[in-house]
Amino acid sequence: MAKRKTIRTIPQARTPMPEQAPEIRITNFEEVACGYRLEDALLEAERCLDCPDQPCVRGCPVGIDIPGFIRKIAEKNFHGAYDVITDTNLLPSVCGRVCPQESQCEGVCTVGERLEPVAIGRLERFIGDRAIAEGWTNLPYIERNRHKVGVVGSGPAGMACAADMAKAGCEVTVFEAFQEPGGVLKYGIPDFRLPNSVVDAEIEKLRQLGIRFECNTLVGRLFTLEQMMGEMGFSAVFVGTGAGYPSFMGIPGESLGGVLSANEWLTRCNLMHGRDFPAYDTPLQPGKHVAVIGAGNTAMDAMRVALRVGAEKVTCVYRRSAAEAPARAEEIHHAQQEGIDFQWLTSPVELIGDEQHRVRAMRCERMELGEPDASGRRRPVPVAGSAFEIECDMVVFAIGTNANPILGQTSGLKLDKRGYIWTDDTLATSIAGVFAGGDIVTGAATVIQAMGAGRRAARAMKAYLGLRDTDAVYLAAPTDPAERLFGIPRRERGFARVHLPETAS
């Protein structure tokens, strides 16, 4: 065995990821970060110390064996690395792109204490993309049981739960209201950050696990949760519908033309291909001067989309300072590179329209930070006499979402006081056999947190159904007669039992 790596012997600088230049990328929807090439990945894999305490694994909401897969990359066993990742996470290409790694695995990386942390997300993406390009699968041998499981919503929470339940041997059907599965990954995240083709490829893998996707199905209205648990014969149901009921501020002028939610803007653009109008029929009507309210990842996406569909000027209006912005640092950085004008400590007070009832300007107030509020962040306080106007012909609200009311309206689910679905610690709802997780339980969060919740719920569902919790450990389909007879694992892997944190949020 080779001598143990130390912080001094590893490559000191993080391997950069090739990127499209800002002035080029604002003219297209191709990915901003082009992904590691083979040599980049090998070099970066050398930076992992394979340290004994593995803080990264604990930092990952789904507990991927991170040192394990990086070791396989260093050994040039990419297929092996893929198997290690997909034992816990079926969507490496998605997570490698959109997880907030800096606050999860990379945020606690041992190397990161002295140097830049290992680029875990980029390595994960490298493996995921290679698997898609080369058609690798990691299909377990599944022993079927008699249970039918329904999953409501095909976003990250639903997908993660569906995958685990399918692996446990259940017949899984995922219901989606849109015409295509993928949820927020499809409608909400633009192609330059997560191409829809990548989402489709990952969904195809779930289909290979035997999961059925029923699109155009609005659960709650076409049939109720109670009907699913009753006449439709589901043994258990997972609800992962997301929060998606956009918030507005309640300031004057919000109903003007050209004022819309980030959800509407991104859905028109991404899922409905409004940017290819008139080849696609969904109109977009992009503005020339776009103001986006909010500074989360969704706000960054909304602004950068606006730039790519022809806006001349895009302004970010956020009432706190850059330090409090909820978006990933990398997203803000990319947005700044692309020329977005950030107006920190600025709060809109009124939208002003023209005679055609279209927005023409936004009246704002400057803010300053006062005492910390309930969220622990310093509360923005308006500065007297600081009102000014921003000229704009489109305003996008990206200030968060509330709970969608449909399932609350149509079932006996107990909701919390804000309208989110109430669950106990195991993510069981007030209806026996119905579990819920993701944004519809916690409020808006990240893709990986939703996936973590989906997996936690799957674990509780398995317990509810009396199924053995196969955890992350499952066997590949036996091909060798000896394996069939004696159940000897074909591959030897040091499976760590995955520890899922108590609260994924």
């Binding site: 209205r221 049939f223 009921y245 819309l260 009832h357």
Partner: protein, 286 residues
């Protein structure tokens, strides 16, 4: 291939037609006042259409469509018996509350005549005395008269040019009914926003509860895009999940009409481009 097969079509006029689509689950779940979202083809937009009827035995739902924009004209051209819709989701929205009203006026104007039908039928089934008031531009555009005759105790037809029934708007019909019956409990009106506004104003002096069904621009229909927000009194509601039925006396119709127009320039351009390509292909662009 999608499952949403068109099993029947009838043309009421050169711009209005109905499609009967096979969807047994939806036919079972549908209730009066709800709507669906349709995508005609893969590159199409998602458009909300009111559920005009449903037949639980046959397992079909009926949509009545007026060919006005690019998508609906394209549907008029392409949707034939045996073809399929790319996407069809629903039923959406909160079903109309068919209360204990003893005497109701069901008002339908233009295309709103279709969705008022299941409501009129539901009221009749609940034992109410149903007065139907239907408005059309002229005699030639009248449809479903027999269906309404079968479920209405009285039926008043109104035409703009007087070619059938009384000459004038549906508000004339409402006024006639109110003066003939002092005990109207409720008015339900579906049609163009300007008509619904007129109906709400016609009943306001009498304090008769008036429900209207709003049709704002929406994308997903599940509460996610917020495009369909409408002002109801002092509060903002999403028509797709909080409606589509609202108290007509509280609806800000001017705001609704202004919002309906927000994609008009783009829609006009789309229609023109499509008509141009139809002409080039030698198709039957209107």
């Amino acid at each position: 291939m999608s499952d949403f097969e068109i099993v029947a079509r009838s043309d009421f006029s050169d711009v209005t037609f109905s499609l009967e689509v096979r969807h047994p689950l939806m036919a079972r779940a549908a209730k009066p006042g709800q709507f669906v979202i349709v995508m005609e083809h893969e590159h199409g937009e998602r458009i909300p259409l009111t559920l005009a009827d449903f037949d639980r035995d046959k397992g079909t739902i009926t949509l009545v469509i007026q060919a006005v924009g690019k998508t609906t004209r394209e549907m008029q051209q392409n949707c034939r018996v045996g073809t399929r819709l790319h996407a069809l989701v629903g039923p959406m929205g909160i079903p109309s509350h068919i209360g204990a009203a003893k005497k109701v006026i069901c008002v339908g104007g233009g295309l709103g005549v279709a969705p008022i039908y299941p409501q009129a039928r539901a009221y009749k089934e609940s034992g109410a005395y149903v007065i139907g008031v239907l408005g059309f531009r002229n005699k030639g555009l009248i449809f479903w008269e027999d269906k309404f005759r079968a479920c209405c105790d009285e039926l008043i037809l109104c035409t703009d040019d007087g070619s059938a029934g009384i000459k004038g708007l549906v508000t004339e019909g409402i006024k006639q009914s109110i003066s003939a019956h002092a005990d109207i409990d409720e008015v339900v009106a579906i049609g163009p926003p300007i008509m619904m506004k007129g109906c709400a104003e016609a009943t306001r002096p009498f304090g008769i509860k008036t429900m209207v069904s709003l049709n704002p621009v929406m994308v997903d229909g599940t509460g996610m895009c917020g495009g369909c927000r409408v002002k109801i009194g002092e509060v903002v509601k999403f028509a797709c999940v909080d409606g589509p039925d609202f108290d007509g006396h509280l609806v800000d119709f001017d705001d609704l009409m202004a919002r309906l127009g927000r994609f008009r320039p783009t829609e006009k351009a789309a229609l023109e481009a499509w008509q141009e390509s139809c002409r080039l292909r030698g198709g039957a662009g209107h």
